[in-house]
C-alpha cells in the first residue's frame, strides 16, 4: 500500500501522513471523511526501505519533528496533530 485516495469535495491537494496504529491519525482521517473532503493518506509505518525514507523526508520539510498525524494542504499549509478546529477552519465551507 502506498497512497490511498478518498474521494469528496475538492479543496486542493490534501495529504495526510499517518500511522496505521495511531489513534489521533485515525481521528484526523475520520474528521476529513466526515467533512467529505477529497484527500489522500499514507500509512508511513507500512512502507519500508527507500520508499519510507523518501516519504519521511518529504514530510519533514513540513514538520521537521517527523511526528504524526501531519496534514499538508495545497503544499502551503501544514497542521501537525489532531487540531479539529484548525482543520475545520482550513478546509471548511
Amino acid at each position: 500500500m502506498a497512497i490511498e485516495y478518498v474521494t469528496g469535495k475538492n479543496k486542493g491537494r490534501v495529504v495526510l501522513y499517518a500511522l496505521s496504529t495511531c489513534g489521533w491519525c485515525n481521528k484526523t482521517k475520520e474528521l476529513l471523511r466526515e467533512m467529505g473532503i477529497e484527500f489522500s493518506y499514507i500509512y508511513v509505518d507500512l512502507l519500508d526501505g527507500q520508499g519510507r525514507e523518501d516519504v519521511i523526508s518529504a514530510m519533514e520539510k513540513w514538520n521537521p519533528r517527523g511526528s504524526f498525524p501531519t496534514l499538508v494542504i495545497n503544499d502551503k499549509h501544514c497542521i501537525v496533530g489532531f487540531h479539529e478546529d484548525e482543520i475545520r477552519e482550513a478546509l471548511g465551507k
Binding site: 495511531c22 489513534g23 508511513v44 519533528r65 501537525v80
Partner: protein, 173 residues
C-alpha cells in the same frame, strides 16, 4: 481500526493487565474505552511486528535500541502527564483528566527529531564523571520511564513501579 491477527480477547487481556499495572503504580488509563481499545490494537500490532510494544502514535524503526525511548510506557510519559494531562498517544491520563476537571487536547511531540537523537545503546553508560565519592557501595540505577531509583549491582529485570524492562534503566550515580 482493525488489524489482522489482533483479536478482541487479546485486546481485553492487555487492557486488564495494563489497567491493573497503571492503577497499582498510581497511573490511569484513558477512560475513553473506545479510543483506548483502539490504541491497544496498535500497541499489540507493534508488539507483534517489532517484538516490543512501541508507541502506536510514533514511527518505530524496528530496531529495539533505536526505539527504546518509545516503548510503552515511553520515556516521555511522565513529563507529558505533568504538562498536558496525558501521554503523547493519550493511553495514560492524569488525575484531573480522569476526574473530567480538565479537557484532553492534542499533546505535542516531545521526542527529539531523528537527527538530534542520541546514539543507540547508550542506556547503560554512566552520565559523565560521578559527583559522588568513589566509596559508594553500589551503583544507583534510574528507570528512565518513571524515575524509580535503586542501589544494586545491576538494574532489576523489570521496574517494580512501572514494569519497564531492564534496558530502560540508566546508571544514575
Amino acid at each position: 481500526m482493525n488489524f489482522f491477527g489482533v483479536t478482541e480477547p487479546e485486546v481485553e487481556r492487555v487492557y486488564k493487565r495494563l489497567f491493573a499495572e497503571a492503577e497499582g503504580g498510581g497511573y490511569h488509563l484513558n477512560p475513553d474505552l473506545e479510543f483506548t481499545r483502539n490504541l491497544l490494537r496498535g500497541y499489540i500490532r507493534n508488539e507483534q511486528r517489532y517484538g516490543y510494544p512501541s508507541c502506536p502514535c510514533r514511527l518505530a524503526s524496528g530496531k529495539r535500541d533505536d526505539d527504546l525511548d518509545i516503548i510503552c510506557p515511553c520515556d516521555y510519559r511522565d513529563s507529558d502527564l505533568d504538562e498536558y494531562g496525558a501521554c503523547y498517544c493519550a493511553l495514560y491520563v492524569s488525575d484531573d483528566i480522569l476526574a473530567k476537571t480538565r479537557i484532553l487536547g492534542p499533546v505535542p511531540e516531545r521526542r527529539p527529531p531523528r537527527r538530534e537523537r542520541g546514539q543507540a545503546g547508550t542506556a547503560m553508560i554512566a552520565p559523565g564523571p560521578s559527583l559522588l565519592p568513589e566509596a559508594l557501595p553500589y551503583p544507583i540505577w534510574r528507570c528512565k520511564v518513571c524515575g524509580y531509583l535503586c542501589a544494586r549491582d545491576q538494574p532489576p529485570g523489570v521496574c517494580p513501579v512501572c514494569k519497564a524492562k531492564k534496558d530502560r534503566f540508566e546508571r544514575f550515580l
